[in-house]
Subunit: 638 residues, 2 copies
Amino acid sequence: MDKKYKRIIYLQDKPREVAVKEILAHFNPQREFEWMDSSEALGRITAEPVFAHNSMPHYHASAMDGIAVRAEDTFLAHEQNPIQLKRNEDFIYVDTGNEIPSPFNAVIMIENVDEIADDVVEIIEPAAPWAHIRPIGEDIVQEEMLFPQGHKLRPVDIGVLLASQTTRIKVMKKPTVMIIPTGNELVMPSENSAPGKLIEFNGTVIASYIKEWGGEPKLHSIVRDNPSEIKEALLQAVDSSDIVVINAGSSAGSKDYTVHLIEELGEVFTHGVATRPGKPVVLGKINDTIVVGIPGYPVSAYLALEWFVRPLVCDYLGITEPKRQRLKVKLGRRIVSTMGAEDFVRMTIGHVNGEYIANPLTRAAGVTMSLVKADGMLIVPPDKLGYEQGDEVELELLKPVDEIATAVVFNGSHDLTIDILSSFLRSELKGAKIISSHVGSMAGIMAIRKGEAHIAGIHLLDPETKEYNRSYVQKFLAGGDVVLYPFLRRTQGWLLPKGNPLSIHDVTDISKSHALYVNRQKGAGTRILFDLLLRENGIDPEQINGYDREMFSHLSVAAEVKGSPSAVGLGIYPAAKSMGLDFIPVADEEYDLLMTKAFFESEMGQQLVRIIQSEAFRARVEAIGGYSVVIDPTPVFY
Amino acid sequence: MDKKYKRIIYLQDKPREVAVKEILAHFNPQREFEWMDSSEALGRITAEPVFAHNSMPHYHASAMDGIAVRAEDTFLAHEQNPIQLKRNEDFIYVDTGNEIPSPFNAVIMIENVDEIADDVVEIIEPAAPWAHIRPIGEDIVQEEMLFPQGHKLRPVDIGVLLASQTTRIKVMKKPTVMIIPTGNELVMPSENSAPGKLIEFNGTVIASYIKEWGGEPKLHSIVRDNPSEIKEALLQAVDSSDIVVINAGSSAGSKDYTVHLIEELGEVFTHGVATRPGKPVVLGKINDTIVVGIPGYPVSAYLALEWFVRPLVCDYLGITEPKRQRLKVKLGRRIVSTMGAEDFVRMTIGHVNGEYIANPLTRAAGVTMSLVKADGMLIVPPDKLGYEQGDEVELELLKPVDEIATAVVFNGSHDLTIDILSSFLRSELKGAKIISSHVGSMAGIMAIRKGEAHIAGIHLLDPETKEYNRSYVQKFLAGGDVVLYPFLRRTQGWLLPKGNPLSIHDVTDISKSHALYVNRQKGAGTRILFDLLLRENGIDPEQINGYDREMFSHLSVAAEVKGSPSAVGLGIYPAAKSMGLDFIPVADEEYDLLMTKAFFESEMGQQLVRIIQSEAFRARVEAIGGYSVVIDPTPVFY
């Protein structure tokens, strides 16, 4: 460790707005322009007001096929008084788009012209002055301002540029943003990643955002956690870019060199903002180029990028930052926040029973999937301790509201067949979509009860009756206008490392062998099954190594078992199959769909039932192994 | 004319929704897929559900620099009971991202570790199991479904693909759309356009839309209005594309070949839809490829493209059509519509006095600028005769609502300095924007009165007092909380063809020489000035050739004068200068800004006043010629 950089300092808690204002005040790039062909300028930003080079039309143009006349000559024409006109004296033939030469000032459609002799026509209706003529500049007048500066060119804008023969246009150059990924543990996505090596993907994501916002990203190769290498990369970058983004190393730990290097080479304005996640940000300047140090955790990184780099890109281009659509929602769960920091909570939104209900996803900054899954973002201001369940709050939307409004909200226990069901539904009903959260069977029942979901997948064994699901629905939802739809029979069993090294065949083997048991969360059907097995065999949970650590899906359990030779878990066959694990069947269980009555009876609900009962769906599900679909079941209403 | 195609048929009035459904039912393309690098797939659409290739992290990874320990060994540690650990037996050193090998199950941060001897450390706090460890699959679990099919990949999605080593991805091929422009009058934008030739720009605009919607446009060269050439182009196109768009020739005139050719080569489903504009549409199929014939007028063309081609592109890709945001507005004017057809009215929207007020732009299908300027689209359903002024209606937005909400609405008489003012304002206040409609001084006063504008530019000469503006404001707006801000002195004069061929020097020369006078609309300050000149010189308007035809701006007048050697108009100096016309001064007039008091006193209003009084603005305006800015005037409150 390089002692020079070892001192530990503490992060500031600067309000985000203040930090943005400061960095914008220090941003003073050499703005550049470029001239380009208008036909190529889609999406570019005008560098100055644009004036029409020519009028459109640029001459008086016929709007019809017909004859051009002097309107005055035709005023007396009617059926009892046909008027004859001589070609080249009183009229000329014109086609659509032809020029109307002076002194002609009206067009009569060819359908209303009677050719009575060579070069003589007869008309029986008068023509109004300027009838069927597109006068000069009808659409665009020469020297008219077409667009102000800072205008993003849309397809129709390209049209008026070309129509007015404004064939070249001055646009803002795209600001170049150099992205420097740092970290000893990083390897490129193309490289083989051994344990201890993590794929560098933040750089590509950051580059994609910069591109979307109108900048020109340049992705630097990975730089090791070494002050002199980072220093060299920084110095090169500030000389060749309008903005520099350095990823990770932005906090205040012993290997976080960013802040020290910027201080050494230039000036630091901010180290730490009052946000969660995204706090460890460094904002500074080297040789007149702004350098933004952003955290390594993906969610923090992308948020910090949007807060501090997007305003710079927009400022360079002279445009306002696009704002997200907002939506009022009801909170399905309590949100706890701390004073003094803005909280950015990724939320799912479901449209159930005419209400938008939002629930928080994990708040861990390292979970990229929370951003992928999020429908919206709740920003809790620094002076708020949070919100209560049921509160109405406004979210920034990350997905179109129409998509959210029509999505089927699936909750409860995870099963792979739900993904297949979603695919089938999507190809039957364009735009239909199932959004699912995997929270376990009991939480699924609660979600239906609280009106947060349309469907829940449940497989809950009643230890008394040995029956699945019914007694639970009866207990928690009787009279709640719900339907229990018998769906699958599936096999649960032991998930074991290939070759079953500890020779585990039943629950007593697990406790005897001191195997690491990979458990599921409380309320999950699989957890209830395991607890029943323990009780039936008189085993105390204390005797189970790993009992207290909880995983949230079959796949998580399987991934964990795959990673440890002494591990074992309980789960469904396809999870074992997809990870190449051994599988020993334990029990056949009933995995059913609990739906609100309103959804079950809706068009979408009935479509879903038809799909489930189709040959194609059944064949696809049963091909996985360990499944059978219940044929023509009787739905039970509660 | 080719007799075979001369018969005239009448257009259908098929409801748009019905026509769309039919064409979608007939659309049965050979959908193709392609595999590509995930890092290149931004914006592409997934062709099938995507599952994670590996977990992220794919091993238990340290989240800190420190030591990996067995949590059980540390439980009893506290300040009074330090625990010593031996390297490689009880702990190993780990850096962020390093693998935590079994049996270690917790990490203690290096800051909390005391190195008391070689290979011996002491700790005084217990570590919780799994503390500072990112377990396998914390972010992404192997085989987890990352995205359903039909998902458009965003930057963060590229991140999870790379993070999970899902380096290749199957996406939908972009459907190819061949665009065939037809017309004898058309020339390419690069060609020199003589009178009688119109620039072909629709093709480039259509191609840009197709690209935005996710298709692959191919732009055919211009095809002459000749059935055999068009037939050849069509047959080639349907063989090499997923969709064919043929532009113009879609109506029922003598040279509208599209419908006949599709009938001859395939099948026509629709010829004419009940919309205005956009009625003359042909929807058909040749050799199993959909052919869409769209009208030639730009506004009709782009609307028809969106109605009929976008659904096909989205259907091919398996995505839902994006919907526009909607906004409730109050109508500033009455909208008349006809029964039986949907009306698509381009509207401007101003946010004045806390209300969104919308006004219609021209409804001519040939005026592309109406689409450029439109903030929103009012769709009047077929069973409606229109709406009254003041009615609340919902518009589809064509611009972001934030942009509309903050724009300064300028109305009244046009002056070129308003564009300059807008540019200055924009560089001072990021995102600020002036949207202007040029409706003449009197209409500007009325717009302020009706609360439709923040500012109006007026130059109204009172024939009695020979004073500008004040008496009009007094008459129409006394007590209306408005401010008259003296702005410019500018010179009005005769706009004359270069060399002044008719030797016009005053208004009597105009009537005597029978020059074509290019007039302005009623209520325009310039029109009032001209009428006063006529009256003062005892000239009857009947004696003025062209008096009844009205133009709506100085530039339109100048463009018209430029086009006719015997024309003359009245207007401001810069209009003459920019079109290379002769100019003879007639009068110096007062062009002032009428503002609502609320706007004048707002931050934006005061900023505007500061800009007007700045050296830089004054220098820029006076450099044009024919202008002087009023220095430090006294605003008059009414």
